[in-house]
């Protein structure tokens, strides 16, 4: 049993104090200590993207970030994408375009795709594939995921 520290961060808009072990990754802190279970673990070594979160707006693999490092930061997970009862256009597009099968990779893809569209509102197919190459999906073959991101980009462009 290792040392405990309190980390104060904003998680999906809510100021939160989490008691963590100094050995905890951000992924462990979110899942095991803060009960934020939409963040998924697929590998715990930065290879699958299932644990993707936005850290102060930047896309990171939360399994590669130490929990202690996020003191004072803003963390966004899949739970923070929807606004009240409105799904984010990416979530809506993933549903309509059948961009998920088992759904375990979906939270990571949604967060990664949000980071992409925040930076580049109308990415090409190649740009989408390049950006999402850090997120593995074993069910879909990516075709419907790429289309859903294109679809959401169009929706965001016409509504903004």
């Amino acid at each position: 049993m290792s040392d405990k520290i309190i980390v104060s961060a904003t998680i999906n808009g809510d100021p939160t104090d989490i008691l963590v072990s100094s050995r905890d990754s951000l992924l462990e802190a979110l899942r095991e200590r803060a009960g934020v279970l939409g963040v998924k673990e697929g590998c715990n070594d930065g290879n699958c993207g299932a644990c993707s979160v936005l850290l102060d707006g930047r896309l990171v693999n939360s399994c590669l970030v130490m929990a202690a490092e996020v003191e004072g930061s803003d963390v966004t997970t899949v739970e923070g994408l929807a606004e009240a009862d409105h799904l984010h256009p990416l979530q809506q597009a993933f549903l309509e375009d059948a961009a998920l099968q088992c759904g375990i990779c979906t939270p990571g893809f949604l967060v990664a795709a949000k980071a992409l569209l925040d930076e580049n509102p109308s990415p090409s197919e190649h740009e989408i594939r390049y950006w999402l190459a850090g997120n593995l999906c074993r069910c879909t073959g990516y075709d419907k995921i790429v289309r859903a991101v294109q679809h959401a980009a169009e929706t965001l462009q016409t509504t903004s």
């Binding site: 290879n47 549903l95 059948a98 099968q101 390049y130 990516y142």
Partner: protein, 750 residues
């Protein structure tokens, strides 16, 4: 989409949003690893560092004494053994021998995961290291290290061999006269093929949580393809009646066959009994790769003869499949599938299930077929080349049709291989020109059985006309949606009014696992019969309300219940919702139920087309264009059918071009991370075009065949042909990785 005399459906064939979708896009869906319970203890597993060793002793005292440790278990915590020889539970916790690196030996539950992981390191195991054998051919030789001294080969006639061996089973099928078939042939070609061990690669690692109560009632939460299979396995290994075990439903993050076996739940249960607390075990990615079942590596020899006119006259296959540490490779299915797409009259097929010091193999999408059909399809491509025939045309000429039979004796009903090949010929992809250096196009077909088996469902009507529908089949990729749609179609109502739920093993009848492409098929049958049961009961209720003869009431396919004209002459009818609202005051609710076990499953065929460019410098194969064509019987939800075809193709492409287990000389996997195992990313693939062919299965109310498995089969042989057409090299070992391609293309002196 190709359609042959398609009936008009209102729900089947549409693309509604899946009922479990919202929870999956907002992060609320509960997967196995998300289970949390008061007092939950995490745990960790100690695994073998040796590929083959005898366990001399296990000393857990230091781990037990560590602060924060709540329980330590080994195989000694299982009930007494029955009989000699290995048992299924030996793969869950090793008994006297470890048979592969990663074999579980002991486990710890502690107050937190770091403590459990540290405690595992304190367990002292003494091993006597034994020689190991990794290659299927080596394992079959006289004098090979023997994994199980009690094993004798099961022969095709049911007899047993008389000496110690690693060959667990020999399978043999034949039809016609092979020698006469080869004598008739104008050309005969024989080739050897190899495939390497490959993993299902589901993104969610295995997990298992157990709570063993003081009353010996055990609750289990685990990501599995079969809730009832877990119940029966856990009860069996712990020597308890099935009534002691209840398996709760959770979402599953992919399986592809790899989540059929049960690894962690019995261990978590033993830890829970010792600690008195619920215990959760989850695997690391390294554990997933080293200790959960991949598919077999293989060595295969295939020989074919053909006449100048293209008729295949003789086909012979010799297939040796790695089983892993215990018997059970998918060689049985491989032997039945190897020549399944072709109507050749003379065939001999031999298959061998062989123990090696690798992880115990498990099912992986069309288990066995991607290897054996790869070998056969590659050789068909060579025959086509030798006869100067278009490879699709040669396949069409020899394709099975209704009434043809396989060497194992199965005779086909209506099947759609011919239709797939014709669609492929007419597809925009095959009609297009491909030019450029180091570019090539390839085609190949695939066959898979699909299966039926037991499925239960029950439904009740709520007063607002919505219908909760409970089922026992795990939903791994949209089966709740397809069940709800077939149920709604039968009742003539909207699929949005159906609320499908997967429930625990005490709350629904026995349901076989999700696998074998059976779920849309068998759930569909159950949904149909459950809805028909409901229709009958609603007719009875309407007859009571109208005070008329039961026979004069009809539930029509449009969802309207019609009775005889009332005294005044006005027709009497209820919509589904109107009658639903009457139920509470006219005798109470209605429960529909169905228990089906159908054997009318429909075989599925697929044909794929691929264009590649091979990078001469690096040996990397880039997939330029891909089209998957498949007979699905009927597409219930076309988006998810396409998704299965695309996902299967992507896995097939990964298996063909990159994925493999790489071992060191001690039998250790050296690439046990996702980065090094290297599954396809979004950047490695193009859009995957699909053409759905619908030749309805006459043995299903909506014509469903099953979709999930066959699309993993054609990619490897299609890529083999495409690479050959690009660079003139026939790659007969999978994966056709950059290294293997460069070994063939670089001049020897480089």
């Amino acid at each position: 989409m190709v359609t042959t005399e398609k009936p008009k459906y209102k729900v089947v064939g549409t693309r509604p949003i899946r009922p479990d979708g919202v929870e999956k896009v907002n992060g609320r869906a509960e997967y196995g690893a998300d289970v949390s319970l008061p007092g939950l203890l995490p745990g960790a597993v100690l695994r073998s560092p040796h590929a083959h060793a005898r366990i001399l002793s296990i000393d857990t005292s230091k781990a037990e004494a560590m602060a924060g440790v709540r329980a330590v278990v080994t195989s000694a915590d299982f009930p007494p053994r029955e009989g000699d020889g290995p048992q299924a539970r030996d793969n869950v916790l090793a008994h006297d021998k470890v048979l592969y690196v990663g074999h579980a030996v002991a486990a710890v539950a502690a107050v937190d995961l770091h403590t459990a992981e540290d405690a595992v390191e304190l367990i002292e195991v003494q091993y006597e290291v034994l020689p190991h054998v990794m290659d299927v051919r080596d394992a079959m030789l006289d004098g090979a290290p023997i994994l199980d001294a009690t094993l004798r080969t099961g022969e095709p006639d049911g007899s047993k061999g008389d000496s110690a061996t690693n060959v667990a089973q020999h399978i043999h099928y034949e039809k016609g006269d092979l020698a006469a078939g080869f004598a008739e042939a104008d050309i005969v070609i024989e080739r050897e093929y190899e495939t390497t061990m490959a993993h299902q690669g589901y993104i969610e690692p295995q997990n298992g949580t157990a709570l063993w109560g003081p009353d010996d009632q055990i609750r289990i939460w685990t990501s599995t393809q079969g809730l009832f299979a877990v119940r029966d396995t856990v009860a069996g290994m712990l020597g308890l009646p099935v009534k002691s075990v209840k398996v709760e439903p959770v979402e599953i993050g992919g399986g592809f066959g790899g989540k059929i076996p049960t690894y962690l739940p019995p261990v978590a249960a033993l830890l829970s009994r010792k600690s008195g607390k619920p215990v959760k075990l989850t695997m690391s990615r390294k554990e997933v790769l080293e200790a959960t079942g991949p598919t077999s590596g293989t060595y295969m020899r295939v020989k074919m003869g053909a006449k100048k006119d293209g008729t295949l006259t003789a086909m012979e296959a010799w297939l040796a499949f790695e089983a892993g540490g215990y018997p059970g490779s998918p060689v049985g299915a491989a032997t039945m599938c190897v020549f399944a797409p072709y109507a050749c009259a003379n065939q001999v097929i031999d298959g061998y299930d062989v123990l090696v010091n690798k992880p115990q193999t498990a099912a992986y999408r069309a288990p066995g077929a991607p290897a054996s059909e790869y070998a056969a399809e590659c050789l068909i491509d060579e025959i086509a080349e030798a006869l100067d025939r278009d490879p699709l045309e040669l396949r069409l000429q020899n394709s099975v049709k209704e009434g043809d039979s396989r060497a194992d004796g199965f005779t086909y009903g209506p099947v759609g291989h011919v239709e797939c090949l014709q669609e492929a010929q007419e597809s925009p992809h095959y009609q297009s020109e491909l030019s450029g250096e180091n570019r090539g196009r390839g085609v190949a077909s695939g066959f898979w059985f699909n299966i039926g088996f037991e499925t239960s469902m029950a439904a009740q009507i709520q007063s607002d006309g919505t219908v909760p529908l409970v089922m026992g089949a795990v939903d791994i990729g949209g089966s709740r949606a397809s069940a709800a749609m077939q149920f709604a179609e039968t009742l003539g109502i909207a699929s949005e009014d159906i609320k499908p739920h997967i429930v625990d093993t005490d709350s629904v009848g026995f349901t076989f696992l999700t696998g074998g492409s059976r779920t849309a098929f068998a759930n569909g049958w159950a949904a149909y019969e459950c809805a028909m049961d409901m229709r009958r009961q609603m007719e009875e209720r309407a007859a009571t309300i109208w005070d008329c003869d039961r026979e004069s009431v009809r539930y029509d396919d449009d969802g309207v219940i019609r009775g005889p004209a009332a005294a005044a002459g006005a027709p009497q009818e209820f919509t589904f919702k109107e009658l639903a609202a009457e139920l509470p005051n006219t005798g109470g609710g209605i429960v529909g139920r169905a228990d089906v076990s159908k054997t009318t499953h429909g075989p599925a065929f697929a044909t794929h087309i691929v264009d590649v460019e091979v990078d001469a410098e690096t040996g990397k194969v880039e997939v330029l264009r891909y089209t998957a064509i498949q007979d699905v019987g009927t597409a219930i939800h076309p988006s998810y059918v396409e998704g299965q075809m695309q996902g299967g193709a992507a896995q097939g492409i990964g298996m063909a071009l990159n994925e493999e287990y790489i071992w060191d000389d001690k039998g250790r996997m050296v690439n046990s991370s996702l980065l090094d195992y290297r599954m396809p990313t979004a950047l490695d693939l193009p859009m995957l075009d699909t053409i759905i062919v619908e030749v309805p299965n006459p043995g299903h109310p909506y014509g469903v065949r099953g979709v999930g498995e066959v699309p993993i089969i054609p990619p490897a042989p299609a890529l083999h042909a495409a690479i050959y057409n690009a660079i003139g090299e026939r790659m007969r070992t999978l994966p056709m990785s950059p290294r293997r391609i460069l070994e063939r293309t670089l001049p020897d002196d480089e």
